[in-house]
Symmetry: C2
Subunit: 343 residues, 2 copies
Amino acid sequence: MDAVTIKDIAKECGVSVSTVSRAMNGHRDINQKTREKILEVIARSGYVPNNSARNLKRLESRAVALLVKGMDNMFFQDIIDVIEKEIHDRKYSCILQRVEENEDEVDLALELVKEKKLQGIIFLGGKFDHPQESLRRLTVPFVMSTSQRRSGLPSCGGGSISVDNEKESFRMVDYLCRLGHSKIAILTAAPDDESIGRLRFDGYRTALASHGIPYERELVVCMEPGRDKYNFASGYRMTRRLLERRKEFSALYATSDTLALGACRALKDAGIRIPEECSVAGFDGLDAGKYYIPSLTTLEQPAKEIGRATVSQLFRRIEKKEIREEMIFEGNLIVRESTSQYQ
Amino acid sequence: MDAVTIKDIAKECGVSVSTVSRAMNGHRDINQKTREKILEVIARSGYVPNNSARNLKRLESRAVALLVKGMDNMFFQDIIDVIEKEIHDRKYSCILQRVEENEDEVDLALELVKEKKLQGIIFLGGKFDHPQESLRRLTVPFVMSTSQRRSGLPSCGGGSISVDNEKESFRMVDYLCRLGHSKIAILTAAPDDESIGRLRFDGYRTALASHGIPYERELVVCMEPGRDKYNFASGYRMTRRLLERRKEFSALYATSDTLALGACRALKDAGIRIPEECSVAGFDGLDAGKYYIPSLTTLEQPAKEIGRATVSQLFRRIEKKEIREEMIFEGNLIVRESTSQYQ
DNA sequence: TTGTAGGCGTTATCAA
DNA sequence: TTGATAACGCCTACAA
């Protein structure tokens, strides 16, 4: 058998299991010599404590979880790094879990809280469509980061940190309009998206309306559910679909930078020059867009700030300090090479 | 208190805990009516079983872990997806864990095996520098994916699936030489990299030598440890450093596509046209390179095949079938717009 | 088909 | 400073 347990160590050292436990967990009520000897035996024997047993017994642990839906979304990389760092700075450990697209992150959270005795949860990239029912069961503090609920939907009992997606989307499309564009195509989420996809689309429509530009369905390309995601390949495919419609447009607004970059290539392959013949704009402020040729005009989300605020709000909840239900950060319109005046 | 346990459910249903357990775990030695009633109570009460308790008791679970070092490396996204899918197809669950750069993945594996009663481990993106000592403690089957040990280093007891990094790197540089380039700069890993970074660099030197081209240190840009990673920003910075040396070169070989893309932008900012004035080549075969302008010449790693083989080899080990210590896949040189004949 | 009881590996409480 | 012992929540013989 391979499983060496705390009992084996105790026997080997000629002490009781409680003493071994004390040595491992850095309690002070133990003789220095005893501790050293035990630690040495542990190191030599390659004993590894069983975390299941620990978690089962422990009443609480200094840990929070970060549940990420759509981990392959490049936009999340920076935010994840910031959040992890902030959590570690607070001497907590961060359990990073990827949530599958069809998986319920709240159910997962419920399991983890019990299993790991978590103090809090951060949801990244989730939707706001959870029944109050299951959210009420979440007894630990939680915050939603970068997700945003449409106004009108009920509060969920957790915090929320994001940009105002509709407003920022409006800002971008408004900018395109001011450049003189009036035929502005959009690459957007599937119609069933009730969260940020929808909000960004709403911003597009509002901006058009504010400039008196009629909304045209033929300029809208939606993701195909189950097939398209926020990545290059989908941006390329969606733009191909747009081009096949042979509908004229002088600007293309993609609701993510990855989509925008894929779109650029599709336009180039169709012999359309950027920005001379078509302006392209994205959303997120990814590094990739900065280094792309042409560099991409985008609506930058302040990822670092959002990450920091996310953790800070979570810990305010954990420490039962005064909190804010919702925090909205300003985005930042970054104009680069991919957009220009309508010619 | 909030913690509802199996006992509460038992009490509520007027049965014993074992009956509840049977109902939950789909045992057949239970009355259909009883089961339905219990399940209904469970659903209504929002009871969530404690996984720690389950894992503690369970002798083994149908689960394997995937430990990824450098999860932000875009190259891993595809492979992770394939591996997860293949594992699920085998009706196993896959525990995906990100390993921090300074964290020891074998120690983590040791913990997880005990905690979750895992059947096997896949290491993605790790190095081959683990003491035999700790690897021997890993009593479950394991394979290393996309990592490659330099010939001469001792076997580690696990399987290994990758391309031949030195050979493929040679292939790329050989290709550049055949285009007539002789001043070929390289963006490569930090000097202390003993794994794929080193192998790709070795391939570069060998290829130069085979063409009778002298190796010049001034054409080599290494990552700064702790600062540079395989991403756009580092590619940009490293190329800036190269340009500051004012050393002539007509081709730039970056040992990853992300580095290459960052490099392209740095060249462009310096007024250098690609590929007319400088050819650029990458490594990995990322989607990003396909959609970049100019599209990127690269050495594609067959990610899907590698992912499938990884899982297949792991399960052959789990099922104690005949196995292969090492599997090497052929890379694929993809010539695109970023490289051209030396002019 | 159901209930009882023991134990999985730890930590915590208490007494020594 | 240490040791015995009772949980932690669940599963599983075994008995009924």
